[in-house]
């Protein structure tokens, strides 16, 4: 009997597949739908203190092997998001990870404190959205460490820090987060990218630059997760281009405790079910009984 369940940071997941942040939006009912469809855990879209309209369209563009988006952290603001997440918590036992974003430490602390009221099972700090002006928050290793320290002073709920492979030293940044008290690392965010329509002779995204996701980024994510694993002992939610059970096995082998998925969910019908079945097929082929059996020889 193959057991797909994983446990970390006080969360019990029936399977290692986690709905990634930003997919299916902030809406409580959409998150619940992902839980019903078989997600092991669900992550809400990042919310900020105030509502954000995000960028103008085009914001999300689909290509054969990748998606580029610059949604721009549109969200109804933390007050409304609390209601969505409370609704989710009262309607499912599937662990809920609440993603939050803010531009500086004090605002980050404030939004994390507020979202705690919804009692999510974990709070994910989005320090790596590539669609905003200026440098990535997580590109400053000291800023990340200070952020985690301040958050941990105020919040009892486990904290995950979402990092970007666009920073060269992702392993060191993750280690700094761990040292500051982070309970988990989530990696990777989408990768800074650009799409150009050569016939329109324009950048496609209204924001010009966006984040790359989808199958094309899997090898980049594997490397990043493996780097983090070499530096850190804390759990890792590994994601980036996972589109099949075999991709997930690679992500786990690279060092992830659980696997976040996004772009695959619109590409494949009943994606969670298929991912689980494919992972089971691989494990059965390999004679593995539990997720922790998936590791380098």
């Amino acid at each position: 009997m193959i057991d797909l369940s994983v446990s970390f940071c006080g969360m019990k997941l029936k399977n290692p597949f986690i709905l990634a942040s930003g997919i299916k939006g902030c809406d409580g009912e959409s998150l619940l739908r992902a839980a019903k469809e078989g997600a092991g855990a669900i992550t809400s879209k990042s919310c900020s203190l105030e509502p954000r309209p995000g960028h103008k369209n085009p914001t999300v563009i689909e290509f054969k092997y990748y998606v580029i988006n610059a949604v721009g952290l549109s969200n109804p603001g933390v007050e409304e998001e609390i209601e969505h997440l409370k609704y989710v918590k009262s309607n499912t036992t599937t662990p809920l990870i609440a993603s939050v974003y803010e531009k500086n430490i004090s605002r980050f602390v404030e939004v994390a404190k507020k979202i705690s009221l919804a009692k999510p099972d974990m709070i994910e700090l989005d320090t790596s959205c590539p669609n905003l002006e200026g440098k990535l928050f997580c590109s400053d290793i000291n800023l990340v460490a200070d952020l985690v320290k301040e958050i941990k002073k105020e919040i009892k709920i486990p904290i995950s820090v979402k990092l970007s492979a666009a920073t060269e030293n992702i392993g060191e940044i993750a280690y700094a987060a761990q040292s500051a008290g982070a309970d988990c690392i989530s990696a990777i965010n989408t990768i800074p990218a650009m799409a150009i329509d050569i016939y329109a002779k324009k950048p496609i995204l209204a924001n010009k630059y966006g984040g790359l996701s989808g199958p094309a980024i899997l090898p980049i994510a594997l490397r990043a997760v493996n780097q983090i694993r070499q530096y850190c002992k804390i759990p890792i939610i590994g994601g980036g281009g996972v589109s099949s059970g075999k991709d997930a096995a690679a992500m786990i082998m690279a060092g992830a405790n659980a696997v976040s998925v996004g772009s695959v969910l619109y590409k494949r019908k009943n994606a969670f079910k298929k991912l689980k079945n494919e992972l089971i097929a691989y494990m059965s082929d390999m004679g593995f009984e539990k997720i922790s059996d998936i590791k380098f020889s």
Partner: protein, 259 residues
């Protein structure tokens, strides 16, 4: 780099109502009535429009905001870009239809009527076209099998009142295999209720603010139902199970707002 967009050129344009410009493009599209495209005014913005005809591609665009105003200023020869089609189409059921269009919501229904008559030459159609006032009424499809009724809120043309003023008596007198409806959400809500009451399958089209258009971003969720992918066309009976339908939409931030 390949692009998800296709380039189209305006070959004809006419003013259909005070606010609706009707565009004919130089290419055809493989789309069914009820499906939509994302039309890109390159460098400015991208908006969804239901397909008003497939061969050639035609769009009825109401100038209701900055981007649609700019699109409506474009003339013959101007180029635009689109991706799609996306979403679920209306499905043809039986051969006696009641078609109800409110305002520019009639555009995809006109396409549906034309396609429906191609597939079923003997179909009998009662068509109700409503608008606030005469100058906002969309044009009918002229055909021996179609009876058209007009309503205007101010009584400037046809029956005075909203579409229900024509629809209710029609439902009293006739049996229909299906009701097809597109227009303001409050109106579609009423039609969906009537369809339920009369046990007539009703298909409506629920529009929301779209970002991706293909079911990824979740912005168009109506209680978990994704307008862009699970819809926009939905049976009235299913729509009535969505508690926000007819009452709330989400703005650009995703915040709930009253309709």
């Amino acid at each position: 780099m390949n692009t998800p967009y296709k380039k189209i050129k305006i070959v004809d344009k006419k003013q259909e109502t005070d606010i609706v410009s009707y565009f004919v493009f130089d290419k055809k599209i493989n789309a069914k009535p009820g499906q939509f495209i994302m039309l890109w005014l390159a460098g400015e913005d991208e908006k969804p429009f239901s397909v008003a005809n497939a061969n050639p591609l035609e769009l009825a665009i109401a100038a209701i905001g900055p981007t649609t105003n700019n699109i409506c200023k474009l003339e013959k020869g101007a180029e635009l870009f689109y991706r799609g089609p996306y979403g679920k189409a209306y499905s043809l059921m039986g051969k006696k239809w009641l078609v109800v269009g409110g305002g520019y919501g009639f555009a995809p229904l006109r396409f549906l009527i034309k396609e429906g008559l191609k597939k079923n030459r003997n179909a009998k159609i009662d068509c109700v076209i409503g608008a606030k006032t005469k100058n906002l009424l969309m044009q009918e499809v002229k055909h021996k099998n179609i009876k058209t009724y007009y309503t205007t809120d101010d009584g400037s043309f046809g029956i005075k009142g909203n579409v229900l003023a024509a629809v209710e008596p029609l439902l009293e007198k006739n049996n229909y295999d299906c009701i097809y409806c597109c227009g303001p959400e409050k109106m579609m809500y009423q039609i969906a209720l009537l369809g339920e009451k009369k046990s007539i399958p009703t298909q409506i089209s629920i529009e929301r603010y779209y970002k991706c258009g293909f079911g990824l971003c979740g912005h168009c969720s109506v209680n978990g139902w994704l307008s862009c992918k699970d819809g926009p066309v939905i049976f009235g009976s299913d729509a009535l199970k969505l508690k926000d339908f007819g009452f709330y939409y989400k703005d650009k931030t995703g915040a709930k707002k009253q309709i």
